[in-house]
């Protein structure tokens, strides 16, 4: 586990939300923190190299650009491996977790629209033959403002 210095915490909290849409956003961040733009860039690149940062980009609201759902399959334990491979090979599958439950294979799948998504799900159901849950988000109650450190 990586212990963060107070300055690293301040920096990571600052860059998680309200990121400036300006030509030189890190210069704006640097000003808030009383650091130089170079120092901010260097520190972030270092944290990235250390694996503390998983990504820098945009977080999209589900289903505003294309369609997505959370799906689960009830797979007999001895068939997990080949089923996971089959599911992972389907275009649009971007997370796949094994969980302790009768429905044990949980994955997020996206498509350009609901029709494409329904087609991919039907494909998975047909190829695997296992019971499947299709659980599209109906309402989000959490406003994702980052993870306070």
């Amino acid at each position: 586990m990586k212990a963060l210095s107070p300055l690293d915490c301040a920096l990571l909290n600052q860059v998680q939300k309200g990121f400036p849409l300006e030509e030189r956003p890190f210069a704006v961040i640097a000003q808030h923190l009383g650091m130089s733009e170079n120092a901010v860039l260097e520190r972030l690149q270092q944290l990235d190299a250390e694996g503390v940062i998983s990504r820098f980009g945009a977080v999209f609201e589900p289903n505003t650009v294309g369609a997505s759902t959370l799906a689960a399959l009830a797979v007999p334990p001895e068939h997990i491996r080949e089923t996971a491979e089959l599911v992972n090979a389907v275009p649009g599958v971007n997370h796949n977790y094994l969980r302790e439950h009768e429905f044990n294979l949980w994955f997020v799948i996206t498509g350009r629209n609901r029709e494409e998504l329904t087609g991919s799900l039907a494909d998975i159901e047909r190829k695997t033959g296992y019971p499947m849950l299709d659980l599209p988000m109906e309402q989000a109650y959490h406003i994702d403002l980052g993870f306070p450190l």
Partner: protein, 168 residues
Amino acid sequence: MLDCALQPETDGELRRLIVLALQEGLPVSRYPYRDLAYDLDIGEDTLMRHIQAMLDDGAIRRIGVVPNHYALGYSHNLMVVWDIDDDQVTRIGTELGELDFVSHCYRRPRRDGWPYNLFVMVHGRSQDEVQQKIAVLRQRVGDAYRDHTALKSTRILKKTGLRLRRED
């Protein structure tokens, strides 16, 4: 005569390419938007205008750095699913979603053999901490409670969308 306004279809296609690029990631560089615009072969102004429009209409929740929870010691997470009275699920969901240890809180449909309508993702630094947090959730749910179960993840079989653009 030249029509300088982008046609809707062209604009939609460009929007899609921008979305894909923003999901892939921005570089940690002095001019991240300019660098990305260059990769997309569009002007920096055009890129920033599209991003602003998506921030305004809510398609983009936020732009920024996504920390790696695992590397920071928040290695224990549980997907806790609840069967909550339909009349109260909005109130309960809103309340649980505001807790700082909850990273996702969604209403989803019930299915045959699947009675759970509220999904809550809980993060913690230890198994005990996560269990304590579930107890807090249970208390908050109060009388609206019908059932719940926690689905521990035992293995990550695929995780993308958490890619770094810089390969160096």
